[in-house]
């Protein structure tokens, strides 16, 4: 280990963070030293974002200690000297670039006549980090392309008088090649000035080329810390719980072994990781999975199927969608279980525009019994537990006469017992001839699929079949960057 002589800049000891029964961080112990770049990697749900929010002070740990240069208390909701460049959402789009800079750094700016100084420092810092940007200080953030906004966000985070620790959360997801290089040049410059930098990224190559040390997170804890010079991408996969997959496994094999006896129910053209044409398809009666790191285009695939533009995708005319975020898009909170369950099926049951309540009742009864919904048909939906609410939403889709069911990560936060009931339901319904397209951020769920497509940056990184679908392979393929980059 290097620079053991200096005390760490930030010392994290046994930090636990829980939200109700959910454990987001299960005891993180970590040091960030001055003059080093610490990389943090991990798959979905490993606790990276919670840790970052805890490091910069937005979240207080449920237990454990955090210490930066000896201080343990936050000022105005953040630790002094710690700044974070967020992946998204921390700029006010209706404000100009300089106003956003002023908003976040006003304590270091004059009280009056700050427009000039704010514009000047914004411009200087943008130029310093990204020499060939074309952002002007009086541009409105709303009208900037995504990459430019990210540059503003990164610059915003660095504009402060007492920067000691800079946290970069997925800074390069929307940046182009040269901007990425410029950013990392700047990171190295900060390191030379004895600052600490924490870099969270899914791009393992970048992590290995920039960082001094890499901490691997899994299940809410740091499972191992490595010197970047000693490890390869393969070692990081292994530490995250992946297995080293042979690069060619499955890639591009999408259409190879299609079962000709069954009609194709779903088909959507995609690009594979090297840019060649491929497709995601499902035969009638199949369960196919969309896997990979969250936010890599899985929901986009579902949206394309749901919209079902003819000529672009092939999909059954009758389809149902099960949303994942039940609070926001799933339930009708004022209605009871029966109304929530039958809403999609209503128009099919109706005759000449009039509701057939007897048929509705029969349908509701069947599903409430089948899925064993606690409280019965007349219970208020908001009185149910999360798992039971989710059962109702899933039942709503299956109670309709849709041929294709789209599942948008619907089982997040559902208890294990309910989950196994729902997995069984999915298998049974597929056997009965329905086609199911299932996005899940939980890799182990993909085992219930006939075929799982691992997505990376909107492209198909791998198509795994049957027994190949394992946590380890999904993790390994999730980090694919370009052709043959794995192994």
């Amino acid at each position: 280990m290097t620079s053991e002589d200096m005390g760490p800049l930030m010392r994290v000891r046994d930090v636990i963070k829980t939200y109700g029964p959910t454990v987001a961080l299960s005891g993180v112990t970590l040091d960030v030293r001055s003059g080093e770049v610490l990389g943090i990697v991990g798959h979905n749900g490993a606790g990276k974002s919670t840790l970052m929010r805890t490091l910069c002070g937005i979240e207080r740990p449920s237990s454990g200690t955090l210490e930066i240069e000896g201080r343990t208390s936050t000022e105005k909701g953040s630790y002094r000297g710690v700044r974070m460049a967020y992946q998204e959402g921390s700029l006010a789009p209706e404000l100009t670039v300089k106003e956003n800079i002023y908003l976040s750094a006003n304590q270091w700016m004059p009280k009056w006549r700050w427009h000039g100084p704010a514009a000047k420092i914004a411009k200087e810092r943008l130029k310093e980090i990204f020499p060939d940007n074309s952002i002007r200080a009086s541009d409105y953030v709303d009208d900037l392309p995504l990459a430019d906004r990210q540059m503003v966000e990164i610059s915003r985070a660095t504009i402060t008088d007492d920067l000691r620790l800079l946290i970069l959360d997925e800074p390069t997801e929307s940046l182009s090649g040269s901007a990425v290089d410029h950013l990392y040049d700047y990171v190295r410059k900060l390191r030379a000035q004895k600052l600490g930098i924490v870099l969270v990224s899914h791009r393992l190559k970048e992590i290995l080329s920039v960082c001094d040390r890499v901490a691997v997170m899994k299940d809410g804890a740091v499972v191992s810390t490595h010197l970047a010079s000693d490890v390869t991408e393969r070692d990081l996969f292994m530490a995250m719980g992946g297995e080293v997959a042979v690069a060619e496994t499955g890639v591009g094999s999408g259409g190879a072994d299609r079962d000709a006896s069954r009609p194709v129910a779903v088909q959507i053209p995609m690009k594979d990781i090297s840019g060649a044409d491929t497709e995601i398809y499902a035969s009638k009666g199949e369960v196919i999975g969309l896997a990979g790191i969250a936010g890599q285009g899985q929901e986009d695939v579902l949206a394309r199927l749901w919209n079902g533009v003819a000529g672009e995708v092939t999909v059954d005319a009758k389809r149902a969608y099960v949303p994942g975020d039940r609070q926001r898009s799933g339930i009708f909170p004022l209605w009871n279980v029966a109304s929530n369950l039958s809403i999609t099926a209503l128009s099919d049951l109706a005759e000449r525009g009039l509701r057939q309540t007897d048929k509705e009742d029969a349908l509701v009864k069947k599903w409430v019994n089948l899925l064993n919904v606690r409280g019965g048909a007349q219970a208020a939906i908001t009185g149910l537990s999360g798992g039971n609410q989710q059962k109702v939403i899933v039942a709503r889709a299956f109670a309709s006469d849709a041929d294709t069911i789209l599942l948008d990560d619907p089982f997040r936060g559902v208890d294990i017992h309910t989950k196994s009931e729902l997995y069984q339901l999915i298998r049974d319904e597929a056997r009965a001839g329905r086609t199911i397209v299932w996005y899940s951020s939980e890799n182990s769920e993909m085992r219930h699929c006939d075929r799982a497509y691992v997505l990376r940056a909107g492209r198909v990184a791998a198509a795994l079949h049957g027994a190949e679908i394992t946590d380890e392979r999904i993790i390994a393929m999730s980090f694919a960057e370009s052709k043959g980059s794995v192994a």
């Binding site: 959402g89 921390s90 006010a92 209706e94 908003l103 006003n106 060939d132 009086s138 541009d139 409105y140």
Partner: protein
């Protein structure tokens, strides 16, 4: 920034500026056209007296619209401003004239009331529409309590101000309106608090991450709305010479229209002081124009509404084209 950059046509303007100022410019154009039409039909308005005559009923509307603009910049909507201004006239025509000290205290208390309304909206997550709708009945009740029937008398200093005829032939209403707008504009664009207001309307998360409190910002914004409402109420008292809580309930919706005409948005984040001024004057002048056109006063609100809808639809089209 390199020399090789093939500069797009509008490179001299900051990105997004045109889209934001266009509604204001369109409204300004509409205002000028209406003024010219009115002036052609009745040349007498081109005198200090004539201009004062057509502009003075608009002053309270313009300042009330400033209040609504501040409210909309934080993403809220005020459905109580009409009755609030009415209540202020009732207080001004009674308490403020008879016992100035108590009158001033009453006005300060109404501003405080607005700040508390803001706290309610923030702490209890009550939609601003509901909170201000409820508050409008409180203002109505308090106004009736102060002055059950229209009457009272404006304080003499207020009347004296309206009687003042400034040098160089500048009409008094113009001075009042431009001054109020300039101060509001400066406050919203140049001060920390103004930036915080707009940040609250555009992205509250950004505001919180910058270390400001949402509660404090929202209460301050509501207090600002209250302050502008008080000023609007005072100018209205001067204009009508007395107090009437039911004087201008229509201002509630007209001020919203003025802000939208000026380029404001229901979703918040935009502060358009000058646009709002032009919007308010345009809406006020429409009445003058329709009267000059000898349109039956029964039909005037409908025609006014039609014009507002047409302008808003046009603005939407323009907005999309630019983007």
């Amino acid at each position: 920034m390199s020399v090789t950059d093939t500069a797009p046509k509008l490179t001299t303007l900051p990105r997004g500026l045109l889209r934001r100022t266009m509604p204001c410019l369109l409204t300004l154009a509409a205002m000028i056209i209406i003024l010219l039409v009115c002036g052609t039909m009745q040349p007498l308005i081109w005198s200090q007296f004539g201009f004062t005559l057509i502009m003075s009923p608009i002053v309270a509307l313009a300042i009330g619209s400033m209040a609504q603009m501040v409210m909309m910049s934080i993403g809220d909507i005020d459905l109580s401003i009409g009755f609030f201004i009415g209540m202020i006239t009732a207080i001004s025509a009674t308490l403020l004239r008879d016992t100035p000290l108590i009158g001033v205290l009453a006005l300060l208390a109404s501003i405080l009331g607005y700040a508390l309304l803001g706290a309610l909206v923030e702490l209890r997550s009550v939609p601003s529409l509901i909170a201000t709708l409820g508050a409008s009945f409180i203002w109505l009740g308090l106004g009736l309590f102060a002055l059950p029937v229209p009457g009272g008398q404006a304080p003499s200093w207020l009347t004296a101000y309206t009687m003042w005829s400034p040098p160089l032939g500048i009409p008094t209403p113009i001075i009042t309106m431009v001054l109020a707008t300039a101060i509001t504009w400066f406050f919203m664009q140049k001060t920390r608090v103004g930036v915080n207001f707009r940040a609250l309307g555009s992205n509250p998360i950004a505001l919180v991450r910058s270390g400001s409190s949402m509660l404090g910002t929202r209460m301050l914004a509501y207090a600002t709305v209250g302050l502008l409402g008080v000023v609007a109420g005072l100018t209205l008292t001067a204009e009508i010479g007395g107090g009437d809580v039911n004087a201008v309930p229509g201002y509630t919706l007209t001020t919203i229209a003025a802000v939208i005409l000026g380029g404001g948005m229901f979703t918040g984040g935009r502060a358009v002081a000058w646009g709002t001024l032009f919007g308010a004057i345009t809406l006020g002048l429409l009445t003058v124009l329709l009267t000059l056109l000898k349109l039956s006063s029964n039909l005037q609100p409908a025609v006014q509404a039609f014009i507002v809808i047409a302008v808003l639809a046009g603005r939407l089209v323009v907005d999309r084209k630019i983007k």
